[in-house]
Amino acid sequence: MENIIEVSGLAKLFANQSALKDVSFQVKKGETFGFLGPSGSGKTTTIKILTAQLAQTDGTALVFGVPASKLKEAGYRKKIGVLTDNSGLYARLTVHDNLKLYCDLYDVPHTRIDEVLDMVNLKDAKKKAISKLSKGMLQRITLARAFLHKPELLFLDEPTSALDPVNSKHIYKGLESLKEQGTTIFLTTHDMNEAEILCDRVAFLNDGVIQLLDTPKALRQKFADHTLTVELADGSKEIIDRGPEGAEAMYNYMKESKVVSIYSNEPTLGDIFVEVTGRKLS
């Protein structure tokens, strides 16, 4: 499968502090790639390098096969959508006027405005001034603006950090449909549940390097301790091995009709994150 992003040996030095030391990864066409890491680990910095907003100190970053720094041409800009943390919307203008400007800049018909507002569940806010919107609404408008032009590659830097669960779900549905249309998504998030729902593969960035990179399922299996927890009728919980040693214990519990429920002790992405980075999520 074709690689949309190819990063190798990427390093970034700010003044005297290194944000990225040696980062390498590839993002395949059509996949949703989760870029996870503690606060300050360099996720936003990586997105900035990949979107030609920042130059790297060392290493190569190819997007669509060309160095990221060369992406300033209109033709490439039309293939890329970016959502960053600070909204960048015109406060005095309405939602509609903000999106209309971007329709014109990207050569997109104005009818697209209603479509994207529907995707972020904000059709009613069309005539409202940006300055009158809540934080979560702003984030959704910024998101709508990011995929207004149906980009082939979408960078999302914490797209749901200000959203309630209902609206997050709505956004997930929207992102799923973009994915079905073949959009490649590069996503950073602090929400491990979100990463699990959306991402085909995730990378854990820590101390300037990628410490893990795989599908969420493979990571869970890799970090699983191969035990089951059995909740018994008397309210106690027993941890038993999934192997042959556990079989007899389980057989006995079941024979005596003592089993209330069984859980698999697979770690969540959050557990793996804490284990790998040795730090709490912020």
């Binding site: 979107t51 907003q53 300033k72 041409e73 209109a74 033709g75 800009r77 039309k78 890329i80 970016v82 960053t84 600070n86 909204s87 960048g88 919307l89 015109y90 406060a91 005095r92 203008l93 006027d97 400007l101 971007y102 014109d104 800049l105 990207y106 050569d107 603006r145």
Partner: protein, 235 residues
């Protein structure tokens, strides 16, 4: 890189809507008109006084509006979105310059009507006024590129207002202090000299030198725009 007039127009439309909702910047467009209305009622008739209003328009509309349009994009973080879009910096600046240009021309025309200024040679005066507008938009662009917020822009513009709106009065003292002769070569002074000559019957052949001086200022300011742009946009 190709230049898209469509994208420039889109930015112009956006800025027009934005400025019309911005009391602070929007009101500076009307200030010269208020003064012009006042002058009109007082029956002011000298070229010096007419051109004080015009030079004020250049500073408040051409330079200041241009400067604050650029500064605000940086202050509110909206420039980033534009830079990530297909719009190039040249297209963005062109859109803003077009708005400042149209606003300046309209205000000058309306102010001239209010003060009942009737130039003897409308063609020459039009050329001189348009050249001046282009110069002040360049000045506003330079200041907009170096300032980071509308507040900062409003402060930075003040000394330029003092020099370019009222600086022409310095030439009055030039007899006594020869150093002030330099003020005669300022674009605002040149414009007044040119307009005074035209009013007493001068033709293009008589005032070509003044036009050339203003043109030289235009060249200098746009070279400065390019230099500052290259330095500032490297972030």
């Amino acid at each position: 890189m190709t230049f898209s007039i469509k994208r420039s127009i889109a930015i112009l439309q956006k800025d027009y809507k934005d400025v019309s909702k911005n009391l602070f910047v929007g009101s500076s467009i009307f200030m010269p008109l208020v003064l012009a209305a006042l002058y009109g009622r007082l029956g002011v008739e000298s070229i010096n006084e007419f051109y004080m209003i015009f030079n004020m328009t250049f500073c408040l509309v051409a330079a200041y509006v241009q400067c604050s349009l650029i500064a605000e994009e940086k202050e509110k973080n909206t420039l980033r979105g534009l830079m990530l879009s297909p719009a190039s910096t040249v297209e963005i600046l062109a859109g803003k310059s077009l708005l400042s240009f149209i606003a300046t021309v309209l205000v000058i025309a309306f102010a001239a009507f209010l003060i009942e200024y009737k130039p003897e040679n409308i063609l020459v005066i039009s050329i001189a006024l348009i050249l001046s507008t282009v110069f002040y938009i360049g000045l506003g662009t330079v200041l907009g590129l170096v300032t980071k917020s509308v507040m900062e822009a409003s402060v930075v513009i003040l000394p330029f207002m003092a020099i370019f709106s009222f600086g022409s009065f310095l030439t009055v003292f030039a007899e006594k202090y020869p150093i002030l002769k330099v003020a005669e070569y300022m674009p605002n002074s040149q414009l007044i000299i040119l307009a005074s000559e035209v009013q007493i019957g001068a033709s293009l052949a008589d005032i070509w030198f003044n036009l050339l001086v203003i043109l030289a200022w235009v060249a200098v300011i746009y070279i400065l725009v390019v230099i500052v742009y290259r330095k500032r946009m490297m972030d």
